[in-house]
Amino acid sequence: MDEGDSWGMLACLCTVLWHLPAVPALNRTGDLGPGPSIQKTYDLTRYLEHQLRSLAGTYLNYLGPPFNEPDFNPPRLGAETLPRATVDLEVWRSLNDKLRLTQNYEAYSHLLCYLRGLNRQAATAELRRSLAHFCTSLQGLLGSIAGVMAALGYPLPQPLPGTEPTWTPGPAHSDFLQKMDDFWLLKELQTWLWRSAKDFNRLKKKMQPPAAAVTVHLGAHGF
């Protein structure tokens, strides 16, 4: 089961990467620059966040109490391999563009794999459908981030063999612990989507052409 899961992860990552749209390397000084694709990525994170709200609600109800209780506040045990959105404020603020994008890309790659694992185990057809739909959207987000990175000339992170996340339940991994892992996966996904909105907003501001140049141009034509 362990090996199967590792292979599953590897296959998953490879699939994700191979299905990325071939983005021609854009000239950085080109007409539009990466701005529109950053905006698109930002919009995708908002869309996914909305989608996740209903998906998580349904899934947590499926897990049952205490997971669907609003005050549920368990200690974070296990789920060590989940990519964590949490970061020190100053570190986050001072991330360079490449690192910011890379962290987002790697996080969603891993989260997508874990979600696909969740989908395989989900009991009801409706849940599987919702999860599959969400996975597709998430893959779209990955593609969008990849597009931005390519436009800016940053290389995509390549998974090294043997370093993929392995979703391997321990020998005594009970049903309850599995549900806890599911809970943290959804929580981390939600938090990452909030963080990404802030990340892409920051990138958007940095990429904006100086507004002054545009208005001066209009003014020169006189009224």
Partner: protein
């Protein structure tokens, strides 16, 4: 003959003064402080005096009726707030002060009300607390903040005694914060706690310096400007979006506009010559809730002549409803075209200004909806 009598008087007075002095300043007297519950009954013994000792009780210097006494003990039934005071019992004959009790009548604390809010995201948040009903006696509060298993420091506010501040160490945390408060006084104890995620308590302060100005030569326009709240530390990285509402003073129904950026907006469908009230609210682009409404700005659109009601002039005008936001605003009103005075026109989400020609076309279709 006159001389010895006044002299004897002086001596007696001096002696009396000396007795009173020793009574007041006897070494045993620091009054015993006692707290009792409102509505209860209390029996105050006269220190170590025997039950059958002859004593007099006084409260704040006023004698108490002997029918309150049970032997040498003072019995007070159905304590009221007015019973609070300094009770003293004296040996009846020598006026020697036997015992003093400073009685405070109050209540044990009920469950405190605790709330937390972040108006300075991502710097930190603060928590406020209060008791729903007064206790009439001093209370001490103790606040603890837990982030997972980590204890965080809540720094007391320098000005407000029921507030403390917590600084965020990390952002984008999946672990909830738990704030607990316990309150205790001499009569009892209570506590409560709340847990929340970092994102849910974000609520900025209202926008500041909202100013509305008429636009010269434009009888239907008002230019509104405002500033992001000064408490929001980083509008660049954590931009705010704004919600503007406006109405003429004489109408009840608000028009709403949601603005994703910028701190200015021009209203283009104001009724000519009518004084408007305008307010703005702010929200982080992605997380948290809307701020309270700002202080209102008032303005009247530019008019060419002294203002007086000309009903034909108003009937010819039309309004174009500017927006109805899809995001939950503080006052969720959707412009209802059927309602009088709402400025019924085609609903155009996120439309900020409508070209004049379109407005006139809409006027032709909806002129009958017009009012004032």
């Amino acid at each position: 003959m006159a001389a010895p009598v006044p002299w004897a008087c002086c001596a007696v007075l001096a002696a009396a003064a000396a007795v009173v002095y020793t009574q007041r300043h006897s070494p045993q007297e620091a009054p015993y402080v006692q707290y009792e519950r409102l509505g209860s009954d209390v029996t105050l013994p006269c220190g170590t005096a025997n039950w059958d000792a002859a004593v007099t009780w006084r409260v704040n210097g006023t004698d108490l009726a002997p029918d309150l006494l049970n032997g040498s003990e003072l019995v007070l039934r159905g304590l009221e707030l007015g019973h609070s005071g300094l009770y003293a019992c004296f040996h009846r004959d020598s006026w020697h002060l036997r015992h003093q009790v400073l009685l405070h009548v109050g209540l044990p604390p009920r469950e405190p009300v605790l709330s937390c809010r972040s108006n300075t995201y991502p710097k930190g948040f603060y928590c406020n607390w209060h008791l729903p009903t007064p206790t009439y006696i001093p209370n001490t509060f103790n606040v603890t903040v837990l982030h997972g298993s980590k204890i965080m420091v809540c720094e007391k506010d320098p000005a407000l005694k029921n507030r403390c501040h917590i600084r965020y160490m990390h952002l984008f945390s999946t672990i909830k914060y738990k704030v607990s408060i316990s309150v205790s006084n001499a009569l009892g104890h209570n506590a409560t706690a709340i847990t929340f995620d970092e994102f849910t308590i974000v609520k900025p302060d209202p926008p500041e310096n909202v100013v509305a100005r008429p636009v010269p030569s434009n009888p239907r326009r008002l230019e509104v400007t405002w500033q992001t709240p000064s408490t929001w530390p980083d509008p660049e990285s954590f931009p705010l979006k704004f919600f503007l509402r406006y109405r003429p003073l004489i109408l009840d129904q608000w028009q709403h506009v949601e603005l994703s950026d910028g701190t200015a907006h021009t209203i283009t469908d104001a009724y000519a010559g009518k004084e408007y009230i305008i307010q703005v609210a702010a929200k982080d682009n992605e997380i948290g809730t809307w701020s309270d409404w700002s202080v209102a700005a008032h303005a009247t659109p530019w008019t060419e002549e002294p203002r007086h009601l000309t009903t034909e002039a108003q009937a010819a005008e039309t309004t174009t409803s500017t927006t109805s936001s899809l995001a939950p605003p503080p006052t969720t009103k959707i412009c209802d075209p059927g309602e009088l005075g709402s400025g019924g026109g085609p609903l155009a989400p996120f439309l900020v200004s409508v070209p004049v020609t379109l407005a006139l076309a809409a006027a032709a279709a909806t002129a009958s909806n017009l009012l004032i």
